[in-house]
Amino acid sequence: MQAKKSRSPTASKLVKVPTGIKGFDDIMMGGLPGGRSTLVAGGAGSGKTMFGMEFIVHGATEFNEPGIYVSFEENIDDLKKNFASMNFDLTRLIDEKKIIIDHVFIERNMIEETGEYDLEALFIRLGYEIDSIGAKRVALDTIEVLFSGLTNHAVIRAEILRLFRWLKDRGVTTIVTGERGQFTLTRYGLEEYIADCVILLDNRIDNELSTRRLRIIKYRGSSHGTGEYPFLIGKAGITIFPITSIRTDYKMSMQTVSTGMPIMDEMLDGKGYFKGSTVLVSGTAGTGKTSLGAHFVDAACRRGEKCLYISLEENQGQVVRNMRSIGINLQQWIDKGRLKFHVARPAMHGIEMHLLMMEDEANRFKPQNILIDPITDFTMVGGGREVKSMLIRLIDLFKARGITIMMTELIRGDIRVEKPETYISSLIDTWILLRNFEYGGERCRGLTILKSRGMAHSNQIREFVMSSDGIKLLSPYIGPEGVFMGSIKLSQEAKDNARILNIKREIQHKHDMLEEKMLEYEAKMLAVKTQQKVEESDLKKGLAMAEQDLQILLGDREQLSRERKMKAQRP
């Protein structure tokens, strides 16, 4: 071999080579073993080719490591076309000598074997390519085609083993893909030759939905994440979702954000929700969960923040139209780029896929607020435990970014149980319960705050009324006869009002009576006084006359006596 041999990394420390595949390097604690071969095994359509190609392309574009992609199946044009949809411009990378794609075409019906041979030509070909661009990475997809294309398997086995040793000697990091066998990891037992690192890709059907999963079967000389990691192949390639990559050491904010309803803010210690907290709105059908959510969204956009509306039932137009009826104009926020809808049908994907897509959307839009309406629909595609696990990750993921999350949840049956369908109440910071109350042939909506961590909140049940200018929270009627809402409250209030009016009237009446009586007495007193005066004057008159008479009488007697005295003296 004319190629100069670059030594593999020293034995003292394992060098890790990042793949650039989202999430994968985290669970690999850095990446693939440098200068060694890694087997990526999986069934048809499990994403092996994607894995290999991402490794090569990310290496060339992000880590300045040129790479060789040896395709034993697809031809170069097909690969270029297939990866163009992922914005991998293979043609440009080839022109820039950052990657080489080599299609090793083995067509059974064109080939005959006779006598002894080896695969030296493959080594020469690969060696030449590695030298021409200084490649550090190689992907062989899938070398097993040699087994189906050639009959002398003993030779192929020996040669493949030699190839892996040779690649190791050259110090290139290699990904070898292999088709999954019935009882073995790969159909032709490639795992026997690759001792350093084995990764299994799997595409399983659960609940009629396929979910891709990845597992690290072995990684010699390194610790790695264990368990199965769901992954998504989307527009941005493979995204692996390891729970271990979620940070739980995030800082919590003391800041609060308005609920969009002044009375509601008042109920929450006069502040609102904590920024970056998780709010769950549970309610039976038609209790106004979405409307409450719309207020949250509207308030967020009003503050100038961005909000992602993840709708699992209604589409964008429907929500915008419906919310207009309660006086909330969401369209303006969409137009201003503050509100984005992510409409997903629950049955469209597996539960993990939903999580990945939501994360993907959040990564791109970078909202400060997220509304998920409703989370209950996830139970359609996953069991309670799966949904809970997904929601835990979702909450952690968004909390770590300081995103305020509101989730709505449809609850059924006896709401007194207060048992949410998805059992996530322990993860929730603020839990609002909306329920229907039935009174006298009428349903009323009531809102309670079941809990709100870290703040003093109201324990009162408020009546929840939706009007053309938004949600109104009314105080219920609280009286000696009980707590009433709705029209019962109104009638109770009317009854009370009538009683008050009656009493008021009575008081007025008494007032009037009093006044009348007073006037009456006054009049009577006037009459008595007049009579008194009359009688007084009459009596006085009589008295005067009597005295006069007396005087007169007394005057007559004197005169008489005087006259008598005069007569008697003369005789």
Binding site: I106, G115, Y117, A121
Partner: protein, 114 residues
């Protein structure tokens, strides 16, 4: 390389790696076959991939030695050093006109296409 003057009907290219005994053996076998059995004009090209590694991809060579029948089309490939080769097997593989006895023991030229 042409055995005779004129346009060759057959173009056979043999890929080897280095001037090893194995390579020489394969080339010898090919020459011998052609001289013995081929009645028409043919051409043999020898490509040493050690010297011209860039040529391996063009003819989709991954094993050594490989004989590629470039002409007539369609292209056919023989992998191996041609040691374990019998006459008819050769003919079958390369669909070459052979001189000698055919299956029925008749002498003359027989074109074998099966």
């Amino acid at each position: 390389m042409a055995k005779e003057n004129g346009v060759s009907e057959y173009l056979l290219r043999i890929y080897v790696a280095g001037e090893t005994e194995k390579s020489k053996h394969a080339v010898r076998n090919l020459r011998k076959f052609c001289e013995e059995y081929m009645d028409c004009k043919y051409e043999i090209e020898i490509v040493d991939l050690m010297k011209h590694p860039q040529l391996a991809a063009g003819d989709q060579i991954f094993a050594i030695p490989t004989v590629v029948r470039k002409l007539p089309t369609p292209v056919k490939k023989l992998i191996g050093d041609l040691s374990a080769t019998k006459k008819y097997w050769w003919a079958w593989t390369l669909s070459i006109e052979l001189i000698g006895t055919d299956n029925n023991g008749r002498i003359g030229h027989s074109k074998i296409w099966w």
